[in-house]
């Protein structure tokens, strides 16, 4: 490469600026580490950009995450601090590595929910959901779809601030007719329209995920843990009722509607099924609206934020007090697998994949 050595790049600081402390997760396109700025002692999260597909050059998923997070600046969106690179040396076989550097958040929601000692009051659940919907409202009004809603991608600081994270699958959307890939969203949080092959989808896909996460605040584990797309659709039908044109006009036009066998004659039982866990009527009503099969009838983030759930007693309450009881980080990556799905009794579904050699006694990393 004919690049003169005199030129220096003042912007991108060298990764030597940080020291790695622990691996805390596995993102869509790379590992995540907890690290510390050697000078300022600020703790950060560093996400390694995997350069697996060398033909593609710098991965488009990483480019998307970078450009989207540079535009999105909000209290409920994870804050991208900078991008840095380790230079190519003989030690890394002349391959340079790029890291995205984020503000550090102590917990993720999946990690918190998998710890039975962590208990959320109704008012605290309201605060979690309010911040989650507020984050979604912000990204959707900026014409961004998250496309990977799940409890592990919801970070929570020890001060109780919620941050939407992992924009590795996110992309901009327009109101025109589109053809996006429908191979997005972790299966258990994937909405019925994606499972049926819709490619012209919109913000409603993230609100389905928000509904799954909201129910999880009480059930403590993902509510529909399908093994396959077919199985996931079965679980959805058992909870939300049969997928038919009478309740969802136009569904018959989706590519896979006629190709997949869908359970018939199922009644919608969202409120009944969840009633065992969720006693609050307002919560059940909002859940019912978020888990609407027909994406055009699913509540949007603005209307959800105006739902009575957030405006009747007990009012949303900050999490900092409850979280101050814990001095350890809780991340899904470091936590033991959560209990099997309580509401749909699925057959032996594979557990959340854990890295090999993980010691189940080391559930939570001591952080602060």
């Amino acid at each position: 490469m004919p690049k003169s050595e005199e030129s220096s790049y003042p912007f991108c600081p060298d990764e030597g600026k940080y020291e790695k402390l622990a691996k805390i997760g596995q993102g869509t396109f790379g590992e995540v580490f907890k690290a510390r700025d050697k000078k300022t002692k600020t703790v950060v999260a560093m996400k390694k950009v995997l350069m697996e597909n060398e033909k593609e050059g710098f991965p488009i998923t990483a480019l998307r995450e970078i450009k989207i997070l540079q535009v999105l600046k909000n209290d409920n969106i994870v804050n991208l601090l900078e991008i840095c690179r380790i230079k190519a040396t003989p030690y890394n076989r002349y391959k340079s590595t790029v890291y995205l550097v984020f503000e550090f958040c102590e917990h993720d929601l999946a990690g918190l929910l998998s710890n039975p000692q962590v208990k959320f009051s109704l008012a605290e659940i309201k605060k979690v959901m309010q911040q989650l919907l507020n984050g979604l409202y912000y990204i959707h009004s900026n014409k961004i779809l998250h496309r990977d809603m799940k409890a592990a991608n919801i970070l929570i600081t020890k001060a109780g601030k919620l941050k939407l994270a992992d924009f590795g699958l996110a992309r901009a959307f327009s109101d025109k007719l589109n053809r996006y890939t429908n191979r997005v969203v972790t299966l258990w949080y994937r909405p019925p329209e994606l499972l049926l092959g819709e490619r012209n989808y919109g913000p409603a896909i993230d609100l389905w995920g928000a509904g799954c996460i909201m129910a999880e605040m009480w059930t403590r584990s993902p509510i529909m843990q399908g093994n396959t797309e077919q199985h996931q659709l079965t679980l959805i039908s058992q909870l939300c009722g049969s997928i038919v044109p009478e309740t969802w006009p136009g569904v018959e036009k989706l590519e896979l509607f006629s190709k997949i066998e869908l359970p018939k004659g199922q009644k919608r039982k969202v409120k009944e099924r969840l009633h065992g866990y969720v006693k609050d009527q307002y919560a059940l009503d909002l859940l019912d609206k978020l888990l609407s099969l027909d994406p055009s009838k699913r509540v949007n983030s603005d209307d959800a934020l105006n739902h009575d759930f957030f405006w009747v007693d007990p009012l949303p309450q900050d999490l900092n007090h409850m979280l101050s009881r814990y001095n350890k980080s809780m991340f899904e990556y470091l936590a033991p697998p959560r209990r099997r799905a309580p509401i749909n009794q699925p057959p032996q579904a594979p557990g959340v994949v854990r890295p090999a050699g993980h010691n189940p006694d080391q559930h939570f990393e001591r952080i602060f």
Binding site: M1, K3, S7, Y9, F11, K55, G57, I60, L63
Partner: protein, 290 residues
């Protein structure tokens, strides 16, 4: 993704000061004149345009690629990385950032070879020397140098809005649109926000089309002096084009262009480099055997 221009990296980090720009360019300008410098940058804007047309890019992708190119050389000497390599690298990165879809490496390299041969024979003699691996490596430098500031705002969108407001979609828009394309051959995109470039081009288009838009302009709350700066840049570009023949003159200018101090063609150089890297291993292996 609409975003907010005033909060963007484009506005906050990449609207440069004219003095800054000239200071960075100073070293190159000891070897070539200012006008020659502009002619080189213009040549590569044309290369990127041709490459983009060959690959059927939208104009927005081409504009983004062209400004990436300008940004790199706004901070680096022309000898730093060969512009013949930087041009396709900018096109490659812009196609991904603008969600045009990833173009396959072979298509990109074939397009390079074909336009160099068929359209820029007056500027480049011989085979196009770079390969995919050079583009991928160069992409890293480009990203790093831009501090990963990828989002670009262009004058096209404000221009369309202004024309709609003026009811001038039929007469002024096509002329002004072409002028915005021409503005990519000047320093204007590095120095002024896109809406000012759009206004300057609209102003010039109104003069060309002899349409009176003074009343509309009078109600604008913009810095008219800055707008006039852009207009002047455009006018001097058109003045230059009256007498400039790229086909005849560019070869001599490129011969003077500052170049990296490499005696071999870069493709060979890299092969050489690789073999040097492998040598220690081979030595280790052979010593292990003995």
């Amino acid at each position: 993704m609409a975003g907010n221009f005033w909060a963007s990296s484009h506005y906050q980090q990449w609207i440069l000061d004219r003095q800054d720009l000239y200071r960075e360019r100073h070293n190159d300008l000891t070897v070539i004149t200012e006008e020659e410098y502009q002619k080189i940058i213009m040549l590569f804007a044309n290369v990127i345009q041709a490459l983009g047309e060959q690959l059927k890019f939208r104009q927005q992708v081409i504009a983004t690629a062209t400004i990436y190119f300008k940004r790199f050389y706004a901070r680096n000497s022309l000898k730093c990385i060969d512009p013949w390599l930087m041009a396709p690298t900018c096109a490659f990165l812009a196609s991904k950032v603008e969600e045009f879809g990833v173009i396959s490496n072979s298509r990109l390299m074939t397009a390079c070879q074909s336009i160099v041969k068929n359209k820029f024979g007056h500027a480049f003699s011989g085979e196009y020397p770079y390969r995919t691996q050079h583009v991928l490596e160069c992409e890293f430098y480009l990203l790093e140098m831009m501090d990963c500031c990828l989002i670009m705002y262009h004058p096209y969108r404000p221009l369309v809005k202004f024309c709609a407001d003026l009811n001038a979609e039929a007469d002024l828009l096509p002329v002004a649109w072409k002028m915005v394309n021409d503005s990519l051959r000047t320093d204007a995109p590095l120095l002024y926000p896109p809406y000012l470039i759009a206004l300057a081009c609209l102003h010039l288009a109104a003069i060309v089309k002899q349409k009176d838009i003074k009343g509309w302009c009078a109600e604008l709350n913009v810095d008219i002096d800055k707008c006039m700066d852009v207009t002047k840049m455009m006018v001097s570009l058109y003045e230059m084009w009256k007498t400039y023949d790229e086909k005849k003159e560019i070869q001599a200018i490129l011969a003077k262009m500052p170049k990296p101090s490499l005696s071999r063609p870069p493709s060979e150089a890299t092969i050489q480099d690789n073999s040097q890297q492998q040598q220690p291993n081979q030595q280790q292996m052979s010593s292990g055997v003995s």
